[in-house]
Symmetry: C2
Subunit: 271 residues, 2 copies
């Protein structure tokens, strides 16, 4: 154990979605302090181009680095998919994404080697999951589907609404026709749709929740690198946002299901 | 007529939606040159807070001002709703928004004085349309409905999709129960949904397309201020974007239905 291990984990996302990752991390490692940055002024990332996503991810990481942290978790699937090599090149902190842990879990869970992935347009376009799966299991058959409407539907709070079910049906039908046996929820918003997705796909297909798998991966890595926090005191979650804090505090409850410190608004341009 | 009249009109929007305004301006005033700025890296504005929308609108206007233009059109309903007083205070150019022209047209068109407005969450929250209507017709009954899913549905290209019709039904039902006789399409994306909306509301309710009314307003103002462009040469439309130009060029065709110059990517931080 090092003195660094007492520092918080820095986690960033395009907005509130990454709180599903924070939730899982806090469940597994309740004594870790967490600094969370949600880039709510520029959300979403999933509709933007790779160069823009990479630029935003660098600015987010630079902000967190200045706060004295021990590691960075890129909770946003789109940012993980595009920016991880650039971040690893420019920053000396350990940096963990959501894509590799999700791909590993999918490969562990599949029986027939037929894996489906849903995500934002930018995540799907990156092919990051496809490449990560093929690196582990070259004969896997991978089928992808971008689902641009799911994030707005979740943010509208329509988790069980008929319109959400209709959109899910439309997005999932091509994957079901391919007889997938594992489905990766490749966006931090999608865990909130798990009950609706489960009802549509039936009990036979295994789900990979990239928030859950990322949290387990971060736990393993922190232990391996002697960075896990000592002690038993309950850790604090301090959110920072780039848009108004008030709106975030309201949405945060839906994603996190537990209280955080009040969010602070920050200006990334000054970092 | 002044030499200033030969300068282009600067138009900005959060993304591609404002091209519906460009289209109407170009239809009415085909010899005007237009510089269009779409803040595609930070789109949408309609889900963001007032302070953030005002900051973005100031940055957009500053960029256009540096390009030598004769007037600024705030094509984005959300930016018009929140930032017009601030922009008028900080910039010496004539600045035209979409809200006042839309409110004027609604007041002209209503018979029973029962006006409905649909828009983004931020536009509706601003009450800008309600205040503009009441300033002209204090006894008008105004009913508002925020429609967060319509922008993503239009950008997905689902203009006639069953899911879009279902969302429209859900959003419009409360307004129809109020027996409105005019409906303001208070977002630049909504003109693309006009056929679907018309089928749902029937022939009795008059529609106000804020892109059309804004274009007529800009034409009147330019003539009044001796700023209308001379000559008959067909004007050029030069788009600038803050995210990748390529994706914009594709979407632009759907909104504009005529060719533009190829978009240039710009960095607002350097202005």
């Amino acid at each position: 154990m090092t003195s660094t291990s007492r520092l918080p984990i820095g986690i960033f996302d395009s907005g509130v979605g990454g709180l599903t990752v924070v939730r899982q991390i806090h469940r597994l490692m309740p004594h870790e302090d967490v600094l969370y940055l949600g880039d709510t002024a520029r959300v979403p990332y999933g509709t933007k181009s790779p160069t823009t996503v990479i630029r935003f991810a660098c600015e987010d990481t630079r902000f967190l680095e200045r706060q004295k942290i021990k590691a960075v978790v890129v909770a946003c699937n789109t940012a993980s998919a595009w920016s991880l090599p650039t971040l690893e090149h420019h920053f000396s902190l350990p940096i963990y994404g959501v894509v590799v842990p999700g791909a590993e879990e999918a490969v562990r869970k599949t029986r027939q080697g037929r894996i489906g992935i849903i995500g934002t347009a930018a995540t799907i376009r990156s092919q990051a999951y496809v490449k990560a799966i093929h690196a582990l299991k070259p004969d896997a058959q991978v089928f992808v589907q971008s689902c641009p409407l799911l994030v707005p539907l979740v943010e509208e709070g329509w988790l069980h609404h008929a319109i959400t079910v209709a959109a899910l049906k439309e997005y999932l039908a091509p994957l079901l026709r391919k007889k997938i046996d594992v489905l990766i929820l490749g966006c931090t918003h999608y865990p909130l749709l798990k009950p609706a997705i489960r009802r549509l796909i039936g009990p036979g297909i295994r789900l990979v929740d990239s928030a859950e798998t990322c949290a387990r991966y971060v736990q393993r890595q922190l232990v391996l690198q002697a960075l896990a926090a000592p002690g038993n005191q309950r850790g604090r979650i301090q959110p920072f946002v780039t848009d108004e804090a008030e709106h975030f505090d309201k949405l945060a409850r839906r994603f996190l299901r537990s209280p955080t410190e009040r969010a602070w608004q920050v200006d990334l341009a000054s970092f």
